[in-house]
């Protein structure tokens, strides 16, 4: 079945881009397989952008397949579910599929093999309000499966100010080796179309476009057939194969000519973009009550049997890649594609919602990078940058730790697609430098914030102390003045009557002065008192002093 690979609608182009070899054919020969149940699952609680879900289970609990085990922490946060039934062994730190090799809180489940589902309540779609659907999608843990794992419900509200025009379903899949979206489109096209229809209902766009790079003719044909079968007015648009056309912003540009700046949301320009697998998962969630507990992962590279599998989240990387029969000279596992992925620091780390591809790494397939040479400013990096940046300048500033200048040259517009480093004739790992500069800037901003807070605290304390000191001094002065006046008056009275009494009064006054001096010299633990307490103390002191005068016998 040959399908037309030219788009009917006029397409736009973004500047730059590169044409890396595809290596996609090898992993599309077999249909999507279902990965066997592992013995144990490691389900990290934090698998998406936004807040970390709170654990809802404790060690020893029995969990069912699809049971909620992590609750959303705020609106931009997602939920986590038990991928199969079993016993929670522990909730502990476990190594993550992240270049840092850091650990994060994960629910460790001993799988019982019964695959016992928790209750699934497919709701009546027609009776749901848009807010119900968004909540449902959040409760089902649906996040963007293209790799960014942004909580999907958070992207399903059209802008209040700008009319929604273009809903893009992204089947671009521009990374070499990766075929999980390709296979999903070939095998589950109808589900994707129905998922896209749900998004359409929520966003009310003028048109829905399913964009697929023209190196996937089978997927294009399957999606066209499904659109026709379902009877939706969606357009399947083949787009020219050009890395990174699968990035949301670049794809929106290709389809609509709109350029979404980094600082703005695409809905502000009346466009929104979802990955095909996300649309499929949303359909399963909304129409079948199935939460997101698995995804399709491409297993490829230096393997005997490259193919795609549907794998439960929490399956250890090493167990999953074993299904593809890695060859003996495999020396590592790449997570993600070769353009943007990373070498897994520890293959005990689990598959998570963002894990779209595992590539067995070998020195033959991925020869070591040639030695880094100085930048000769040839400008090829700038010519291929899809964000129209000047990577050679950013590199210069990042290397010199001139982070202010790097930001001035739009460091944070970099999408880390790796096109610049791909073409660099000096073999400079440019993205590495940009990640370094970004993390340094973030660290500095955190430090600056902390320092600002500390300074504010210190200044407030200083001000308070000065104020209290002044208040205290004033009180003491007032009390002393009052005392002196009183005593002077009494002395005058007493002196007129009795010289003995006058003498007593003089002694008492001396004692009083000594006490006041002592009080002034030794403020005791009265430094951190409130103004009210200060006043009380002053009053008590005053009373005491007075008592000393009235009853001189008792004090002697």
């Amino acid at each position: 079945m040959m399908s037309k690979l030219k788009s009917d609608r006029p397409l736009y182009r973004f500047n730059g881009g590169v044409h890396p070899p595809g290596y996609k054919e090898q992993s599309t020969r077999e249909p999507i397989a279902i990965a066997p149940l592992p013995q144990r699952l490691i389900v990290p609680l934090h698998q998406s952008i936004g807040g970390t879900p709170r654990p809802l289970v404790k060690p020893g609990d029995r969990v069912l397949k699809g049971q909620l085990i992590g609750a959303a922490d705020g609106w931009i946060s997602s939920t986590v579910h038990a991928p199969t039934s079993g016993i929670v062994r522990d909730i502990a730190l476990h190594v993550q599929p992240h270049p840092s090799g850091l650990s994060a809180l994960s629910v460790l489940i001993d799988v019982d093999g019964k695959e016992e589902w928790s209750e699934r309540n497919p709701p009546d779609y027609a009776s749901l309000t848009p807010d119900d659907i968004r909540r449902l999608i959040q409760q089902a843990g649906i996040v963007g499966l293209g790799g960014a794992v942004f909580p999907t419900h958070g992207k399903l509200t059209p802008s209040a100010k700008f009319p929604m025009e273009d809903l893009v379903i992204n089947g671009g899949e521009c990374e070499p080796y990766m075929t999980c979206d390709d296979m999903i489109m070939r095998e589950r096209a109808e589900g994707i179309v129905r998922g896209a229809a749900i998004f359409r209902d929520l966003m009310q766009p003028k048109r829905v476009m399913i964009a697929i790079e023209d190196n996937k003719p089978e997927a294009i044909a399957a999606m066209r057939a499904a659109v026709q079968a379902v009877g939706e007015p969606f357009e399947v648009v083949p787009v020219p194969t050009l890395y990174p056309a699968g990035c949301a912003k670049q794809l929106i540009r290709v389809l609509t000519g709109k350029e979404v700046p980094v600082s703005r949301r695409s809905t502000d320009l009346g466009a929104q973009c979802f990955n095909v697998a996300t649309a499929y998962s949303a359909w399963r969630a909304v129409c079948f009550g199935e939460p997101m507990i698995s995804r399709v992962v491409t297993l490829t590279g230096n393997v005997g049997r490259a193919h795609n599998v549907e794998a439960l989240f929490g399956t250890p990387i090493e167990e999953l890649i074993a299904l593809a029969e890695p060859k003996p000279d495999t020396d590592g596992i790449l997570v993600g594609g070769p353009m943007m992925g990373f070498l897994a620091p520890d293959t005990a780390a689990p598959i998570v919602k963002s894990t779209n591809c595992l590539i067995a790494h070998s020195p033959d397939l991925f020869p070591p990078r040639a030695p880094e040479m100085p930048c000769i400013r040839c400008g090829e990096c700038a010519r291929v940058c899809p964000q129209d940046l000047q990577p050679y300048e950013l590199y210069r500033f990042a290397r010199a730790r001139n982070f202010g200048k790097a930001q001035e040259y739009h460091l944070f517009d970099c999408i880390e697609c790796g096109s610049c480093a791909y073409v660099c004739s000096s073999h400079i790992p440019l993205v590495h430098y940009f990640l370094f500069a970004k993390s340094e800037i973030w660290a500095r901003e955190r430090e600056k914030k902390a320092a600002d807070q500390a300074r504010d605290r210190f200044q407030a304390k200083q001000k308070r102390e000065e104020r209290e000191k002044a208040e205290k001094a004033e009180k003491l002065a007032k009390a002393a003045a009052a005392q002196a006046a009183k005593k002077a008056a009494e002395a005058a009275n007493l002196g007129a009557l009795d010289p003995e009494a006058a003498k007593k009064a003089a002694i008492a006054a001396a004692q009083e002065r000594a006490q006041a001096q002592r009080a002034a010299a030794q403020p005791k633990n009265t430094e951190a008192l409130t103004a009210g307490q200060q006043q009380e103390i002053a009053e008590i002191d005053a009373r005491r002093a007075q008592a000393g005068v009235d009853h001189p016998e008792s004090s002697s």
């Binding site: 070769p338 000769i376 000047q390």
Partner: protein, 339 residues
């Protein structure tokens, strides 16, 4: 796998490939030069290459850089070739060596080596030598020189003198001097002398220039250079030359003469396209090329030197970082707004 950083694979491009492809693009020019002007240019290329590699090796060793990696990157070789091709071909060996060592040691390595030099090393060599040794740098082989390859080499190595009968000015310089001296004779009459000026812009030289142009087109086709700087240079040089030619054709040569005379084509495609010392933004390259073209014309026609490419390029090298900073293209999503 020492560095875990994406992307994990890449095409085979390298600094060496860029430099050596540029050298290769000079080969047609060198062939015509050796055939129509003097074969001794090959000796000069050898001398310059040896001096450049020796200077490079010395500096790399002193700076503690890996010799194998940088000595073979082709950058010193390209500098050497540009020096040999812009110096008078019968100048003594030590003049080429002095120029080359100045370029490699002072202009390149004292500024930080590959990628860090502010000035174009080959143009610095030319500028320094023409200031320090003006007489030697103005002795070009007379048109139609009849001298065996061995005799030419004897002159280079100082074994026989460079006689006035075999040395002269470049066609460009000859025209300027003739206009000054004769006063009454106009350009069209002077250019009638095919013996000196050939059909277009100097007997033999016009073909060397054409071969450089051919090499430049090859570099464009291989995407080693972009069109911006060369086109801006050619357009501005031709425009200024054309304006003055139109104004007074008896005193000013045609744009075509200027484009094929002197170092215009080698400058346009091999010098101002140097990414290290030139501009990197497309708009910057247009500005850079255009101003070099104007300055070149002003210096070669009204200045005291036979050609202006070297000085024009050095002047603009200073301005390149500023031009780049002022011509940053808008980033994705910010077009039509101030960047």
């Amino acid at each position: 796998m020492s560095l875990i950083s994406a992307p994990h694979f890449r095409p085979e491009d390298s600094v060496r490939k860029i430099m050596l492809t540029t050298c290769a693009a000079l080969l047609p020019g060198i062939a015509i030069y050796a055939w129509l002007i003097v074969p001794a240019i090959l000796t000069q290329l050898l001398i310059a290459s040896a001096a450049a590699l020796a200077g490079e090796a010395l500096m790399l060793k002193m700076r503690g850089k890996p010799l194998g990696l940088f000595l073979t990157d082709g950058s010193a070789l390209l500098t050497a070739w540009l020096i040999a091709l812009t110096f008078p071909p019968l100048s003594p060996w030590w003049l080429i060596v002095t120029g080359t060592l100045f370029a490699i040691i002072i202009t390149k390595h004292l500024f930080g080596g590959l990628g860090q030099n502010v000035f174009n090393p080959a143009m610095m060599a030319f500028a320094v030598c023409i200031v320090a040794f003006p007489a030697l740098m103005s002795q070009w082989p007379s048109p139609g020189l009849q001298l065996s390859f061995a005799d030419q080499n004897r002159i280079i190595f100082g074994l026989s003198p460079l006689l006035d009968s075999i040395a002269g000015a470049t066609p460009l310089d000859a025209l300027k001097t003739a206009l000054k001296r004769e006063g009454t004779i106009g350009v069209p009459e002077l250019l009638q002398n095919r013996q000196i000026y050939g059909a277009l812009a100097g007997r033999g030289w016009e073909w060397v220039s054409s071969a450089y142009l051919l090499g430049g087109l090859f570099l464009l086709q291989r995407r080693i250079i972009t069109w911006h700087a060369p086109v801006a240079f050619i357009v501005s040089l031709a425009a200024l030359a054309g304006l003055l030619w139109w104004f007074d054709p008896s005193r000013f040569a045609s744009p075509l003469f200027h484009l094929f005379a002197g170092g215009a084509t080698i400058g346009a495609f091999f010098v101002i396209t140097d990414p290290i010392t030139g501009c990197a933004t497309p708009r910057g390259q247009l500005i850079f090329g255009a101003i070099v073209g104007l300055l070149d014309y002003l210096i070669r026609v009204f200045g005291g030197y036979p050609d202006g490419v070297a000085f024009a390029v050095i002047l603009m090298n200073i301005a390149a970082p500023l031009i780049d900073a002022l011509t940053q293209p808008p980033v994705f999503g910010m077009k039509g707004k101030s960047p």
